[in-house]
């Protein structure tokens, strides 16, 4: 659905995006995460046709965005991080205006308007003035506006900014529902934990480069695979350590009392084989697990130079 190849963006001497590569498949809810200044908004503005890339290509639905601007606009629904609304305009008129902006008029526009209002739970507020809506309602209206022309790809730039936790949760649920309906969603945030709950894939960007990308399950598996095996034995710690040292897949071990941390490069199946060997050698193994790492820890590790900023942002929340 979305493919970014070697995307670069320079503002004078400053490189905002440095050969960024990224891919979002159809039907995915992709979390685009990174600390402030990492290049998230720049990437999203280029995808949405609001900024010209210095070099590189963006493909949406197989089309090069630099050559098919009109088609691109029809394929993308954009929700910016900060946005304003028009005064002296009703909710229904606001959506009808944007429907007309995409060439949808008359009854088709009215039915689409009601459809998207129902989707975001604002149908009852359709006769209200847009500027009298609460911040949360305005955010939902902005989402409804982005859906009015049935885009295939929804691009949301830190949409939860300034919302209270309850509204954020409801907003996330709406996004999950939209994803289940078949929309492909790209959502940026600096709060990984919130996105990891709803996203099917994530991409971590730092200093204009994609440092990690993939499906959440696969990432978790790969993180765990690089973590040491934590083996606790009831006794015979030295014998267990000796047995482990002899295994070619164990690269390093460390021992603390009856706990052994072994860096094991094997697969899940080879892990099970190792456990069997230990048990068959008569070593009383009381626990045998991979050290757990959260996505959050990984995020901090990958964006280490920004750690202090990130911690602050974690607390301030989307």
């Amino acid at each position: 659905m979305l493919k970014i190849e070697n995307l670069c963006k320079r503002f004078g001497d400053f490189t905002a995006l440095d050969h960024l590569n990224m891919q979002v498949d159809k039907g995915e809810l992709f979390g685009f995460v990174g600390p402030n200044g990492a290049g998230k908004t720049t990437t999203i503005r280029i995808i949405s046709g609001l900024l010209r890339a210095t070099s590189g290509e963006v493909w949406v639905n197989g089309m090069r965005t630099s050559r098919n601007t009109k088609k691109l606009k029809e394929s993308i629904g954009y929700v910016p991080d900060t946005f304003g609304v028009y005064d002296n305009l009703k909710v229904s008129e606001y959506l009808e205006f944007f429907a007309a902006a995409y060439g949808i008029y008359g009854k088709k526009a009215s039915s689409r308007r009601d459809e998207v209002l129902e989707k975001v739970g604002l149908l009852e507020q359709r006769e209200m003035m847009v500027d009298t809506l609460s911040r949360g309602m305005q955010q939902r209206l902005c989402l409804a506006r982005a859906l009015i022309h049935r885009p295939e790809l929804l691009v949301l730039d830190e949409p939860g900014t300034g919302l209270d936790p309850r509204t954020r949760r409801a907003f996330r649920r709406t996004l999950k529902d939209l994803c289940e309906e078949g929309y492909t969603i790209l959502i940026s945030s600096h709060i990984l934990t919130e996105l990891s709950d709803i996203c099917t894939s994530i991409g971590i960007i730092d200093m204009g480069k994609m440092v990690l990308q993939g499906q959440i399950d696969e990432i978790m598996l790969s993180i765990e695979a690089s973590n040491p095996l934590l083996i606790t034995v009831f006794r015979d710690t030295d014998r267990a350590a000796e047995l482990l040292r002899r295994n070619p897949l164990v690269t390093r071990i460390s021992i603390e009392k009856n706990k052994i941390a072994a860096h094991f490069t094997g697969s899940r199946e080879e892990e099970a084989e190792l456990l069997r060997e230990l048990v068959e050698a008569g070593i009383p193994v009381t626990s045998f697990v991979r050290e757990q790492t959260s996505l959050e820890t990984l995020f901090f590790h990958l964006t280490e130079h920004e750690q202090e900023v990130s911690v602050f942002e974690f607390e301030s929340g989307i």
Partner: protein, 293 residues
Amino acid sequence: MNLNPVFDKEIKRNCRSMKISWIVFGCNLVLGTIAVISFFGEGVIHGYMQTDRYRMPIRCYMMMSYALFLMVALLIPGITAGSISLEREKQTLDVLLTTNLNPWKIITGKLEASLSMVFLLAVSAMPAVALVMVFGGVGFLDLIALVALLVISGIFIGSLGILCSALFKRTTLATLMAYVLLIFFVAGTAAIVMIASHINVLQNEAAGLYDGRSDIGGLVYLLLLNPFASFFSLLSGQVGNGREMLDICNAFGDYSQSFVVNHFSVFAAGIQLILSGGFIALSGALLNPLRKK
């Protein structure tokens, strides 16, 4: 036929705004006051049906026409200079640019909305201005020509305002620059012509010619860019002797045979419309986020 969505939206918003009602009320109050003073002031004192007072309704028409032009010149830059910059300041522009509306359509929608304001003013002023038709001297076609030139001036001044709005990010700066540019086109062009004439006279005197006449050649056509000059020329044709503009131009050379000067208001309106097209195209280019810098 579907309306330009931007125009449609602006009209809806304007209709609900009290600002427009107050502007129309204020303009008509000014025109009404001019009419009342003319008819019930001067007329009652001197007797407006007397034959020697026949120019009184014509003067009233002139005053009302100039008042209308002044109102358009004062209001339109203020309205149009915020058309793009306010969208930018209110953070609604980005969303607008991601829709299927191209920058050209956004700009024309904004211009149409500000022109509707000129139309509203001109049409609402019709009853007051038409008072003079009772006494003759000004016909219906004259009124139509007046409204047409007001609209053309509105397009010119409005496109100037929109260009400033696209060029400058802050509305206050855009508004200031729109008025500065308008002053340049109204007073600046006249000043350039007069300075050039004065330099020409000085050059003639240095060459030993002391007749005080000047000939600035084609520079006089700079006045075609002056919306006030075109308006003055139209009114001169309607209620004057029709030679006032030619006399002014002849002060800077001999233009008696100039086809352009003899049809000044038509050419000025045409050139101002062409220039407006240029301003709008430039605004559209400035608004395009994907333009090459």
